[in-house]
Symmetry: C2
Subunit: 205 residues, 2 copies
């Protein structure tokens, strides 16, 4: 692309560094900024600047938070003995929106992925192990996505905690509510048969 | 979505105002910003701030430019008598990349679109008419996209310039080079037959 303006080219270069945004999309976005009032772009820029400067991580669960101790960890209505291990804040938001979980979280900040250069030391695994060793935790629920990296991470943590004799579970894999059996993949369907649950449990939700 | 952080929520709100970016995508982008060094986000923010503050429009063709008179309008190698009417800078970039055009441009800044509240007065049509009335222009080439809005805009400008007796043309519509006839739509194929060109012309490119 050959730009008539260095300012435009610079802005497009910066925007196209974001994941999933190519140079054409970046140009479209930047041209949109030029069509709307300047102030809106200043608001956008300052929101991003303030975010990266002032954001904190909860010292207990490592979730993104504005304060030292996040809302969930500081709540008296949550059971601190049950810890759900998730990848990032999006998973916390997804589980919270079900309103089915009353324990707390531990946000790993990613999954073990040698390809992307993410090892156990880049995640908050050590802090989780310490938490368990202190004896604060009764049960760990693994809720990482069911991929190669997710399973590797689950297994790594499992090995670290195995000797500590606490309850460890993973969220159930199975057919989505409302899905047709015939379109389900074999692995999911297979697991849903092996991990079948008493019929009365299906009546609860 | 229920965010654990106001800073995060604010950033997601701002980013999701961009066209084609929903709240989920915005959250993904913002979380990406938190994973990379802060300085990169400051660079992004300042590139956008500087862009909206310092960008200029060429006083002749209204294209986006860093200076008063853009590179194309100030070049001595361009024929100022031929003016190609386009919607925005992306069309200029597309035509420039063909290296087939040696005239200049007139950037309208949009198309007439009552639905989006864009009337002739919001575009640079008046400035184009003035340019033609001054007698600087021999030929106008319409290169707007071939949509309802594009055709309306073409026709509106045509009506304004009709009495001034200058040459007016539109870029050729036809089958793309490399495309199979059988998959072409009828309108395009129809136009390509009506506007057929002498065979020798097809040997030139």
């Amino acid at each position: 692309m050959n730009f008539s303006s260095k300012l435009l080219e610079n802005a497009v270069n910066e925007v196209s560094q974001l994941p999933g945004i190519g140079r054409r999309t970046a140009l479209r976005l930047v041209l949109h900024l030029l069509k709307r009032p300047k102030e809106q772009t200043h608001h956008l820029a300052s929101a991003l600047n303030v975010l990266v400067e002032d954001i904190k991580k909860c010292k207990k669960c490592h979730n993104i938070s504005d304060v030292e101790l996040c809302e969930i960890c500081s709540s008296h209505h949550r059971n601190e003995g049950i810890v759900c291990v998730v990848e990032d804040i999006r998973d916390v938001m997804a589980i919270e929106s079900t309103a089915q979980y009353k324990g707390v979280y531990h946000v790993l900040g990613g999954k073990i992925s040698p390809i992307e250069g993410v090892g156990p030391q880049n995640l908050t695994i050590e802090s989780l192990v310490k938490k368990v060793k202190r004896g604060d935790v009764e049960e760990i629920i693994f809720a990482l996505s069911s991929t190669m990296e997710g399973d590797t991470t689950n297994f790594y943590i499992y090995k670290q905690l195995e000797s500590l004799k606490i309850k460890m579970s993973t969220i159930a894999r199975g057919i989505s509510v409302g899905d047709e059996l015939e379109y389900a993949d074999e692995v999911t369907l297979g697991r849903s048969i092996i991990n079948r649950v008493p019929f009365v449990n299906s009546l609860q939700s």
